[in-house]
């Protein structure tokens, strides 16, 4: 499992316990996301919206939801750096 997936899972489990993993998988399925590491920005935004509206909104106040949304944005922004690292490696390989 990727670093991003594990962080997302950790956040889901923090609030939903054992239900967290299933909810994450079902939301990823609903958006047809099979690999979180290869998602584009639009998919990440859709995932954040989906998790907030379908999951987190069901258990917390608006104020707490804003906090969780920031956390989700922060976790999913890791994709950029992972992507950048991959691109960087590919670039290095190509140079060699």
């Amino acid at each position: 499992m990727s670093e991003i997936y594990n962080k997302l899972l950790g956040l889901m489990e923090k609030y939903f316990g054992d239900l967290g993993e299933t909810l994450l998988k079902k939301n990823l399925d609903a958006l047809s996301i099979t690999d979180i590491d290869t998602t584009v920005e639009a998919e990440r935004t859709a995932l954040i919206d989906e998790l907030i509206s379908e999951c987190f909104s069901t258990i917390m106040s608006l104020a707490k939801m804003k906090m969780v949304k920031s956390k989700l944005i922060s976790i999913l922004s890791l994709r950029s750096s992972a992507f950048a690292r991959n691109i960087g490696t590919e670039f290095d390989n190509a140079r060699m």
Binding site: D18, K26, C55, T58, I59, S61
Partner: protein
Amino acid sequence: MALLKGKKRDRVSTGIVGYDNMLNGGFFPGSVNLISGTSGAGKTLFCMSFLYAGAKFFKEEGVYITFEEGKDQIIKDSKSIGLDLESVADKVTILDIATLRKFFDITEELDREDSPLNISILIDLIKRNCDKAKRVVVDSIVPLSMKYPNIIEFRAHLFRLRQVLKGLNATSVFTTEIPISSNDISRFGIEDFLADSVTVLKVEPSGRKLRVHKLRGDNHEKEFINYQITYSGIQVDYLEMMFKKHNERDI
């Protein structure tokens, strides 16, 4: 919404004038209370009045756990009787299990260990998200029964739920349904044994009536009393009944 300040300071006001009188001031702090009623009797609105009063008048946090009615519908219905939940959104959290259930089909709800209808999962959700709540409502426990093949197992799990609610340092209410023509006080015949107080709500051709069937640790009004669901909240005709009784005695 008018509010009766508890006659006794060691009681938790339900936020419903007349009903508090029937309970000698309200629920006992930390107690687990059952509201049992027929369809359309207003169980959800009773529960919401309890949470709303806590948030509005006592600045207490509350959690409402719903299994069948979605959050938006509950907010809308509450508003129709003058309970503006959006004005207390920082205090009242709706744990919308009804929406979470959308992710599971019926077979999954029954078979999967992590379905939201599993009482262990529910207990975990409560512990994770309700630790600051002073008032907790579980509405209703009936869908939870689907998960358990027999009444003994269901009772054992309900007992665990009761213990968790007791351990929250909060006053709790849970609801159950009774068929319209039934004289029973609970759906499964076990819920009332787990509760510290039991209130039965009924809709009859002559109107809505409620009766406090049981209140552990204190005496209480035992007769059926009329109540109405109005644009400004639930009104229980307790004082009217007292006057009527008084006048009848004089005659």
